[in-house]
Symmetry: C2
């Protein structure tokens, strides 16, 4: 018997790179999945590839999601990405960068991949502390998805157990970065910005950049990526 | 205010055509979604289009699912579709025609479409009586998905309620057909066979054909579609 397999949702951001490192540290054979959903911050996908390579994953697939049917999100449409929102504002309501049912769709596809690989463990880098107000990043969502997944799948019905691991869910951004640095994550390969420059430099002002910079400050570490406005 | 919108998963089969007719009879504005997942029985998609047109839906989208990542199902690969399994055999275990996490993925995408349309109601033609042993056709799956959906989405969090309607779930195939005939469904437009001839004629022997034929017999009605072996 080889190592048990795990499927890791890998966006190319800081959180999922850390979740991948945690899955690796727990001895899983790593199968990464990334999603091409027409996101404007496409540097993410290149970053996901680099992070996957650095972690020496057993496989990495990019799943193309046809987003023509999704309307109304700033991440996939021409709505301006908000800049320089304060922490109080970020913690109020659901931002325009919300993509309808995104994590539900991504986890569902990852679940299909897991079944086809014979994997029972899925890793997801969601975080409910320093998060952006997305409903599908909360612990109650992850629990409900796991419960559903065990009723939906062959493995769940035949006495196995699907586990949705969200190892970062109760950590602050600073704690996530500290844990990742201990596990040797190269955050220089990751990409978080919702609104990067043409050369990939991060804006430093969108919600994602602000949370990232706050995290590195909390972790007493310097963010190795390039920013436009600094 | 116009009619409330509903998203209907429309495969082109008998069950989803009936679910569409039920949604219509309840006064919803109909938005159909079909999935192109590389199924071998591609006549389904043409049937879905015809059924959608006949019901005069407000919109119909075909969502392409990249199934390169799915392995091990007879519906998307070269595993032979079983023929002439008896009813006892069909009710034992999960058949090779199971596609990993299929309904989970389809419902998740439909949920994203519903959110982007401002719809709270989804209709799914699953059936737990004369079904083929798929775990994701059972009432407990549908309930768990609904619970998860209300935690996953903006509408759920902001005080609305996502409802997953599975109006056929406790009906026999015969009862489904009787209800559909009362609502004026033209079953001649639908397609059920997993293993059709090149001209679209149904095999009459796969699980899906056998359940369909049994249903028409129970409903004392003649199936209007063409079969190879009859």
């Amino acid at each position: 018997m080889g190592a048990p397999k795990a499927v890791i949702l890998l966006s190319g951001g800081l959180d999922s790179a850390t979740a991948l490192a945690i899955a690796k540290s727990q001895g899983f054979e790593l199968h990464a999945i990334s999603f091409d959903y027409g996101q404007r911050h496409r540097f993410e996908l290149a970053a996901a590839q680099q992070v996957a390579n650095a972690a020496q994953v057993a496989s990495h697939v990019v799943f193309r999601v046809d987003t023509a049917i999704f309307q109304g999100s700033a991440l996939t449409n021409d709505i301006p990405v908000p800049h320089n929102r304060g922490e109080a504002e970020m913690s109020t309501g659901i931002p325009v960068t919300y993509v309808p049912a995104r994590n539900t769709i991504f986890l569902s596809v990852a679940l299909g991949l897991a079944e086809s690989l014979g994997a029972s463990d899925l890793f997801l880098g969601v975080n409910a502390v320093d998060y952006s107000g997305y409903p599908d990043c909360r612990p109650e969502f992850v629990q409900a998805f796991e419960q559903m997944a065990n009723l939906a799948t062959k493995v769940g019905v035949e006495g196995g157990r699907i586990r949705i691991h969200a190892p970062l869910i109760h950590l602050t951004k600073g704690q996530i970065i500290q844990q990742g640095l201990l596990l040797g994550v190269n955050y220089g390969l990751t990409h978080s910005c919702y609104d990067p420059a043409a050369d990939g430099a991060s804006c430093g002002e969108c919600d994602s950049c602000q949370l990232r910079l706050k995290g590195f400050a909390e972790a007493n570490s310097k963010d190795p990526i390039r920013y436009i406005n600094r």
